[in-house]
Amino acid sequence: MKGMTLIVKKTTQLIAGIVFLYGIYVIIHGHLTPGGGFAGGVIVAGSFILLILANGSDFLNLTKEETGITIIENMSIMIVLLIALAGMIIGTRVFFHNWLPKGDVGELISAGVIPLYNIFIGFEVAASMLTIFLALVIFKEEITK
């Protein structure tokens, strides 16, 4: 895949970081404001997709095998499972039990384990969206070669 013109490249390089930070904000504030792991994860993936579409597939050296991102995806869904399993050991012994102290409603650090679920589901969604996109790009590279 070839890149676009210089204007598009420079603009995306300026914007992509802000989009990435906004995605992180949506994930972290998932238990306070609208949004959460699913929406924020797709925004984070969108910042990378923007960069790859504008700069071409040589930009991130994409012709190699991309295994790191699949490992992140599988690890984060496993961590979600482990946090849920920890509820069976600590406290009232129920799967998906909220075993951390809940704190004040409306604070950034509150709601027990819900922010942790948000963060890891965000990782998982971002990694899986990016994996699908990279698989399509690498498929194209292999076909044209």
Partner: protein, 175 residues
Amino acid sequence: MELAISLILIFMILGALYALHAKDLLSAVIACGIVGYGLVICFLLLKAPDLAIVQIVVETITLVIMVAVVLDSTKEEKFLKPDNQGFINIVTAAVFMVVIFYFLRLAAVNMPGLGEGSLRMAKYYIEGAADKTGSANLVTGVVFDFRGYDTLGEGTVLVTAVLGVLTILRIKGKK
């Protein structure tokens, strides 16, 4: 508000019908975008910002990927002549449509009106959810606390989808 939602729904149906009959694949993909963005406006009118954010982001990303795929492949859709099999398909679809509309009509009588009251289970979630889960956002409280199994299932579906995509798109075997 019901009038506005009905207008948007009619617009979405027109977009979907156009996407079916468009000759050019690129315009069909963009017409599919009408359905997604119309749904975003419906969610905003029904005061569901969480769903609207997810829908608008996912719609944009999928539209970008679909446009990128269509631009790199053939734009023309292959024309296939309808045969006896197609006739049977049309009859089956018509029968299913009648059956589904009949049962939908039966079920719609018993549902509460738009914006009037809430279902019994939803009422339990709304009352004191902030105290039970500690989360200020009610939707996140429901998604990660009351309905945790659902969210785990969604994550597993994503992992399975990625595995399927990687399996299909792999040309060279792993060395």
